[in-house]
Symmetry: C2
Subunit: 397 residues, 2 copies
């Protein structure tokens, strides 16, 4: 045997010659990703093992069990989707929505709009109710909408990353049960950072991400589904219209059978295993209290500087704080200055809050006092230079 | 402000107390994942940066350009999907199939069946043609099927991971153009390992994975789409029925606008950037020849031991070799012995080849002479102990 000739000449026009990877150092205090715990980063760099290796199968069980702890749920179907949080978001809808189902989306920010867009792609009859970006829904508003629309699913965001609002959850699960409605909850910016009690709240489906409260890089989308949602999946006519996110197939791999579905992103799962282990070592109550204490330090420090927070205190999300950009300040110029001169990322506004707020995340590994103090110090020392010299004119404009 | 009381007691029944991650050392000589290059693993462990950070945006462009080189294509829409190879596979169909479109799938193994399943979930009228698992399609067979079914899309696997067959590609693109058919190609087990010339072959859509020829862990799904496929996407009625994989949205992030779609798996992209850089440094011709030379060394070594290869030499895939399990040998017991006693993973058969073959991968970083020699030595020294002592009886059964 000999090497056969290569049938076509190789085109080298796209053969960039690059130097080895060099990355800037960043303190990520925006809406996510957050910095990962160094223990988690170390786990990512382990040599991969096979996705059917007994050692990997044992790790899968560990990840599932610790996700149940983090979410406070007994749900059997709890697993990390092999994609980012948006994939897990889509998985909740793809598996349970059938054509013509009414899906009620309570929109109080950007991610509610995304839920509505996704649900429509699965043939749902999407109904939305909204409240101002920076507020939460009352039980009465939700009850009125459930009465009127009798939806198969109510989708709502627990921690709205675009506004910094934490939706009060008490009573919503009971309302949904009385209406025969499944409750779908976005916990992307709350898991690991803010109290989440899926089972006590009567949540039927939830999703999250790896890169915020869990202190792992982005790349996995925790997903969970309770018995009422499982029953809807089991009774659907025809296959789930999304192969990659089909929980009935995934359950054969993540359940007891370990039937091959797709090649798991094993290194990302090494990372989330360590991230969840560290969270369990710290303990949920301690992690929640740490996020709360550091957020309160940030809030009072910003207010001491005369800055206005976008969300009223009772609804404020400890993991993500929204700060109004003062009139006469070029908010984008200041955040670019923080990035370029200090290596600190803070976020800008999304959607209708674009240009109006900064978004400051204190999530997971990054929720620590020294980060709060460093950022407050920069706001105090360096923000004044970004105020327009003609603040009155700017205020009028 | 004070920390509010936690409304529900924390349930610690799922709070496993785990030791730090400990993983076995494996030489992955199965169908994938393969071992990753240590340079790539090191990149995975870098602290994440934001998905809109200028440094990350620059890296995205580098990854796209080097994917074009690896695939030998000028396609503008070339990017890694934020999921595994199966997500990229689904992306090709989700974006281009409209309800009622005829999709012709040329099935010569397990992954052809998967393409057919996926296409059906998007409302395609799926037609399959098949050939025995271990053979390839002739141009004549494909032409007859194109004539008969006039499909919108012909989907075919270049490198069938379940059988070890490399489909000859010359002429298929011309046939498809003459029939007004888009050519969709699975290059999961060929990219970076076996000659692939997407543009010269007239391929309109392709996908691959990160964990084989590219020497990166699993978690990203390279995806590419040429102008004819783009035109079909642009002319479709209504939205793509899959939000996460919607290329019209993804293109706003990966194209010039950098509009936020989802939070990218940044660390995995650090890894694939380094993997592609190393491939470009080596050069495609050199990488292909290395895979070929090591595969030939394996093939002749196995034949010298009296083992039979499942695929005829002209169709054999250098990256994945299928070996028939001799009669009287417990194939699964031998592969478990290799894993447990030597830390070497080789694969078993899938689908109709389950229990009949071993699958040996020599992919990317693992395609090296010392791995071939180590495995051949184990087959020579330790396989005889797994032969039944009553081979004649076994042969009769």
């Amino acid at each position: 045997m000999s090497v056969p000739p290569i049938a076509h000449p190789v085109n080298s026009s796209h053969r960039s010659r690059l130097a080895p990877l060099a990355l800037p150092e960043r303190l990520l205090l925006g809406p996510g990703p957050s910095n990962a715990d160094p223990v988690v980063l170390d786990a990512l760099a382990r040599p991969p093992i096979g996705h059917l290796d007994p050692a990997y199968v044992a790790l899968m069980g560990e990840v599932q069990e610790l996700l149940r702890y983090a979410w406070q749920t007994d749900n059997r179907l709890t697993l990390p989707m092999s994609g980012t949080g948006s994939a897990a978001m889509e998985a909740t809808l793809a598996n349970t929505v059938e054509r013509g189902d009414t899906v009620l989306v309570a929109v109080k920010g950007y991610f509610g709009l995304r839920l509505a867009d996704m649900a429509s792609r699965y043939g749902a009859h999407v109904v939305t109710i909204s409240c101002p970006w920076g507020e939460a829904f009352s039980l009465e508003a939700l009850e009125a909408a459930l009465d009127e629309h009798r939806p198969a699913i109510l989708a709502i965001v627990h921690a709205e990353t675009s506004t910094g609002v934490c939706q009060p959850m008490e009573g919503i699960g009971d309302l949904c049960r009385r209406h025969g409605t499944l409750l779908l909850l976005d916990t992307v910016t709350s898991l690991g950072a803010v109290p989440v009690h899926l089972d006590a709240w009567g949540v039927d489906m939830a999703y999250s991400c790896s890169q915020k409260g869990l202190s792992c890089p982005p790349g996995l989308g925790p997903f969970t589904m309770g018995p009422r949602a499982e029953a809807k999946l089991a009774s659907r006519g025809g296959k789930v219209p999304n192969w990659y996110l089909d929980v009935s197939l995934l359950n054969q791999y993540w359940g007891s059978d370990r039937v091959y579905h797709h090649t798991a992103p094993v290194n990302m799962n090494f990372g989330i295993r360590e991230a969840l282990r560290l969270l369990a070592d710290e303990g949920l109550e301690q992690a929640w209290q740490r996020h709360r204490a550091n957020a309160e330090r940030l809030w009072s420090g910003l207010e001491r500087l005369g800055l206005e927070l976008h969300v009223a205190e009772p609804l404020r999300l400890p993991s993500l704080t929204t700060v109004r950009i003062p009139q006469g300040v070029d908010g984008k110029a200041f955040s670019q200055h923080l990035l370029n001169s200090h290596g600190i990322e803070v976020g800008g506004g999304l959607g209708e809050l674009a240009g109006r707020i900064w978004r400051i995340g204190l999530m997971g590994y990054n929720s620590r006092q020294e980060n709060v103090d460093r950022l407050l110090n920069l706001f105090e020392q360096e923000l004044p230079a970004f105020r327009s010299s003609t603040p009155v004119a700017a205020a009028v404009a």
